[in-house]
C-alpha cells in the first residue's frame, strides 16, 4: 500500500542555513500525525514544503503517489488542504464566503455561483465545525477561536484526502481545542490523513496516532506518542528537563516541563508523605532544587509524584514497620541535603523521623493537622518536635521554596561566622 503522504529526504535552504535537512515522514490514510518540536524547529516550514508554498531544494513530496512538481497548483490543492496558523483577515468577508473559497480548487474560472455539490460541502463544513450560526457574520468580527474553526471549515470544504494544520489549537479555548482535534480525529476515521503542527505535547499525545519530533530541522523521533514522548528525547529537543507520566483521565502520556533554573547546589530532602508531601516535592522540583524524598509507604501519592519527576524516593511496604534499611537510606539522603522539609509528618513510637530531622543542619516545617494528631509517641517526642519547630522555619506550601532558600542562607551565614 502506498502512503497517503510521503516526504522523502526533503531539504529546504542550503548549507548551514538549512531550515529542514533530509526530513522523511509518511502519513497513512486514516492516520493523524502530530508534528511537535520547539519554536523554530521547522514545523511550519515542513508544512509549507508539503503544501507547495515553499520550493524543495532536494527530496520529494508525494500525495497518493503523485509528485508535487508534476501537479499544477490547482491539482495539488485538490489533494492537500491547509489550515493556516494566522487566520486574521482584514476584509469583511462573510464566514460563508470564506468557507466557499475552499471550493476554489473544484471550480472552473467561468463558474460564477455554486453548484449543488458546492453548497452541500459548504453546509456540511459549517455544520461539522459548529460555525453555521456565524455564516452571515463578517469574519473580522469573530474571535480568534471562532475564526480558527471557520478556517478548518474552509479546509473541509476543500474536500481533500490530506489535511495540514498549523497550530490549529493555538488560539482556542480548552473546550474548542479538544473539539477541533476531536473533529480532525473523526475526519481521519473517514479515511483522510492529517498532519498537524501542535505545540501542546499533551494534546498531541492524546489525539495523534503517531508523533514526529522535529528539532533543528530534522526528525529526531517518529512513532507512537508513548515512544516519542520520552524524557530523554524531549529533554534534548526542548533543552529543558521534562517528566512524563500517564494522565489519569485520558490515559495518554502527559508531559511536565521542569525548571532548569539552577540556584546553586541546593539539595532538599522531603520527609512526610500524603498530599502535602507530594506538593512539596513538585514545588521544590519546579523551583530548581535537587530533591530527595522518603521514607514513603508504597502507594503514597508523594511516592508517585516523586517517581514521575524522576526522584526515586525511599519506600517501604504499605503495612508493617518501616524497615531499618529504609531508615538508614533516609539518614544518608538527609545528611547529603542542605535542608530537610518536614511535610506534616507523623511521629510514631520509634521516632525515626525526628532522628533524621535532628541530624539535618536546617529544617523547614509544613503543618496541616494539629500536633496532637501527628505526634503520637508521648511527651518526650512532643518536646523533641517543639525544639525542631523552634529552630526551624514554619512555612505553607506556597512559601516552601522561599523558606528553603532562607534556611540555606542562614546556614551559610552561620558557617561564615
Amino acid at each position: 500500500m502506498t502512503d497517503l503522504l510521503s516526504v522523502e529526504d526533503v531539504t529546504v535552504g542550503f548549507g548551514e542555513a538549512a531550515i529542514l535537512s533530509d526530513v522523511s515522514l509518511a502519513v497513512d490514510a486514516g492516520a493523524f500525525v502530530g508534528l511537535v518540536g520547539p519554536n523554530g524547529a521547522g514545523k511550519t516550514t515542513l508544512l509549507r514544503a508539503i503544501n507547495g508554498v515553499l520550493e524543495l531544494d532536494t527530496g520529494s513530496v508525494h500525495v497518493q503517489g503523485d509528485a508535487i512538481e508534476e501537479c499544477s497548483t490547482r491539482e495539488w490543492s485538490q489533494r492537500v488542504a491547509t489550515v493556516p496558523q494566522d487566520t486574521s483577515v482584514s476584509f469583511a468577508f462573510r464566514v460563508e464566503d470564506i468557507v466557499e473559497m475552499g471550493r476554489t480548487p473544484h471550480r472552473s474560472r467561468s463558474q460564477f455561483g455554486s453548484t449543488e455539490t458546492d453548497r452541500r460541502q459548504i453546509a456540511d463544513a459549517l455544520d461539522r465545525t459548529d460555525t453555521t450560526q456565524f455564516r452571515e457574520r463578517p469574519i473580522d468580527e469573530l474571535s480568534g477561536g471562532e475564526r480558527q474553526r471557520v478556517f478548518v471549515a474552509r479546509a473541509l470544504a476543500q474536500d481533500t484526502p490530506l489535511l495540514l494544520l498549523d497550530e490549529p489549537t493555538a488560539s482556542l479555548d480548552v473546550n474548542h481545542q479538544v473539539e477541533i482535534l476531536g473533529l480532525v480525529r473523526d475526519l481521519v476515521g473517514e479515511g483522510r490523513g492529517a498532519l498537524a503542527a501542535i505545540h501542546d505535547l499533551d494534546l498531541a499525545a492524546r489525539f495523534c496516532d503517531r508523533i514526529a519530533l522535529l528539532h533543528d530541522g530534522s526528525i529526531r523521533a517518529f512513532g507512537s506518542p508513548e515512544d516519542v514522548l520520552d524524557p530523554a528525547v524531549l529533554d534534548e529537543a526542548f533543552a529543558t528537563r521534562t517528566a512524563v507520566s500517564t494522565n489519569p483521565v485520558t490515559g495518554s502520556p502527559t508531559v511536565t516541563a521542569r525548571s532548569t533554573r539552577d540556584d546553586g547546589d541546593r539539595r532538599v530532602h522531603v520527609l512526610g508523605g500524603g498530599r502535602l508531601g507530594a506538593r512539596a516535592i513538585a514545588t521544590l522540583d519546579a523551583a530548581g532544587h535537587t530533591v530527595s524524598a522518603g521514607v514513603f509507604r508504597g502507594g503514597d501519592v508523594a511516592a508517585e509524584t516523586a517517581a514521575t519527576l524522576g526522584v526515586s524516593p525511599v519506600t517501604t511496604p504499605p503495612t508493617g514497620e518501616v524497615g531499618p534499611g529504609a531508615i538508614a537510606r533516609a539518614h544518608e539522603l538527609a545528611d547529603e541535603a542542605d535542608v530537610v522539609v518536614l511535610a506534616d509528618v507523623t511521629v510514631g513510637s520509634r521516632q525515626w523521623v525526628l532522628d533524621v530531622a535532628e541530624s539535618a543542619p536546617a529544617v523547614v516545617l509544613l503543618e496541616d493537622r494539629p500536633i496532637e494528631d501527628r505526634v503520637l509517641a508521648g511527651e518526650r517526642a512532643r518536646a523533641r518536635y517543639e525544639t525542631l519547630r523552634d529552630r526551624g522555619h514554619l512555612a505553607d506550601i506556597e512559601s516552601v521554596p522561599l523558606a528553603v532558600a532562607e534556611a540555606k542562607r542562614e546556614l551559610e551565614r552561620f558557617a561564615d561566622d
Binding site: G52, T73, R94, M101, Q158
Partner: protein, 366 residues
C-alpha cells in the same frame, strides 16, 4: 445564488443611475434642451457596428511615408426619432461624445481601482500606484512639448508611456519569478518620483505649450469626440470581460498569497495577468483623459463599504459607479461660468469625502 442576485440588483441599480446621469448631463449646457428631446437624441445616437472595412493609408512621419491602418466602421442605428436638427447636433456631436468618453474612462478607472486594491490588499492603492499615470504624463507632456505628426500622437505616446512604466516597475520588483506586492509598491513610488522629475523638466522645456501641458496633467474630457470613444470603448470593454472571471481569484488573494496558493490559485501567474490588464485599462483611460485622480481610489472604496469585499459584486459595481461618478463630476466641471479640468473636481470632491470616511472610522484597515 445570493451573490448572483445581489450582483444583478446592484448592477441594474447603478446602470439605471448611470443612464439618468447621462441624460441629465446631456441636457445641461449653454443651450437649454428639454429632457425628452435629449432622451430621443441619445437613443438616436445608439449605433451597432454593422460592418468594418479596413484600408491602409500612408501617414507622413518625420518626412517618411509610413503605412497606417485605417478602420472604417459603419453603424446601424436602432432609433430615428424626429427632433430639431440643431438640438440633435448639439447633443449628439458636442455633448454625448464627451459624456460617453467620461463614462468609459470612469468605468475603466473604477475597475482598475477595485483590482489594484484587491491585488495590493490595501484600500489605499489606486490604479496609478505602480506609476501608470506618471508614465502616461511623461509621454503626453513630451508630445506636447515636442509635437509628433501622427494621428492620436498624444494619446499614443501617453498610452505607451503608461504601459512601459508599468512593465518596468514590474520587472524591477520581480526576483526569481516572484513579485512581492510590497516591493512592487515601493518600486512604483520610486519610479513615480523619478518620472515626476522628468515631467517637471519637460514642462520647463515646453515653452508656449506649457498651458496645454498643465491642462492635460490636470485631467480633462474637453475636446473629446467620437474618435476617442471608438478606440477606448472596445479596449475597456474587452479588458473588463477578461477581468470578470478573476473576481473569485481576487477574493482568495485577499486572504494572502500563501492561502491563495493552498487554495489552488497559481499566484504569480494570476498577479501578472491582473497587473497587466489593470495597467492597460488605466493607460487607456489616462491616455484620452489625462491624470484624473481619486476616481480609482474612492469609488471602489465606497463600493466596498456598500456591497462588501466580494469582487464578484465589487468589480461590476465599482465600474458602473466610476462611470456615473465621472460623468457627474464632469458635468459639474463644465457647468460653471468657467470650465474646469475634471481632475480638479474629482480631487476636490473626493478628498474631503475620503477624509469624512476616515474621521468616521469607516476606513480603518490598511
Amino acid at each position: 445564488m445570493r451573490t448572483r442576485y445581489r450582483t444583478g440588483a446592484w448592477s441594474a441599480g447603478l446602470a439605471l443611475a448611470l443612464a439618468i446621469v447621462v441624460l441629465l448631463s446631456a441636457s445641461i449646457g449653454p443651450v437649454d434642451i428639454d429632457l425628452p428631446v435629449v432622451a430621443m437624441a441619445t437613443l438616436n445616437a445608439i449605433g451597432i457596428p454593422s460592418s468594418v472595412s479596413a484600408s491602409v493609408d500612408t501617414t507622413t512621419l518625420v518626412g517618411v511615408a509610413v503605412p497606417a491602418p485605417d478602420l472604417a466602421i459603419s453603424y446601424t442605428y436602432l432609433f430615428s426619432f424626429s427632433i430639431p436638427a440643431k438640438s440633435e447636433l448639439i447633443v449628439r456631436e458636442l455633448r454625448l461624445p464627451r459624456i460617453v468618453l467620461g463614462a468609459v474612462v470612469g468605468f475603466a478607472l473604477g475597475t482598475a481601482g477595485a483590482v489594484m486594491q484587491g491585488f495590493f490588499r490595501n484600500p489605499m492603492a489606486d490604479p496609478s500606484i505602480i506609476g501608470v499615470s506618471t508614465g502616461a504624463a511623461v509621454g503626453a507632456v513630451a508630445t506636447i512639448a515636442f509635437p509628433l505628426a501622427i494621428p492620436f500622437g498624444l494619446q499614443t505616446a501617453a498610452f505607451v508611456g503608461a504601459v512601459v512604466t508599468a512593465f518596468a516597475v514590474y520587472l524591477i520588483a520581480t526576483e526569481n519569478g516572484r513579485t512581492p506586492v510590497a516591493t512592487l509598491l515601493l518600486a512604483g513610488v520610486a519610479i513615480q518620483t523619478f518620472l515626476g522629475a522628468v515631467v517637471s523638466f519637460l514642462l520647463l522645456q515646453s515653452g508656449e505649450s506649457l498651458e496645454q501641458a498643465v491642462y492635460w496633467l490636470m485631467g480633462h474630457l474637453s475636446a473629446s469626440g467620437w474618435d476617442e470613444v471608438e478606440v477606448t470603448l472596445p479596449v475597456v470593454a474587452v479588458l473588463f470581460v477578461v477581468l470578470v472571471p478573476f473576481a473569485r481569484d481576487l477574493n482568495v488573494l485577499m486572504l494572502g498569497e500563501e492561502d491563495a496558493q493552498t487554495l489552488g490559485i497559481p499566484v504569480e501567474w494570476t498577479k501578472r495577468v491582473l497587473l497587466a490588464v489593470s495597467s492597460v485599462l488605466t493607460a487607456a483611460a489616462v491616455a484620452v483623459a489625462g491624470v484624473i485622480g481619486f476616481v480609482g481610489l474612492i469609488v471602489p472604496h465606497v463600493m466596498r463599504l456598500l456591497v462588501g469585499p466580494d469582487h464578484r459584486i465589487l468589480l461590476p459595481t465599482s465600474a458602473l459607479a466610476g462611470a456615473t461618478f465621472l460623468v457627474a463630476t464632469d458635468t459639474l466641471a463644465r457647468a460653471g461660468p468657467q470650465e474646469l479640468p475634471v481632475g480638479i473636481v474629482t480631487a476636490a470632491l473626493g478628498a474631503p469625502f475620503f477624509l469624512l470616511l476616515l474621521v468616521r472610522r469607516e476606513v480603518h484597515e490598511l
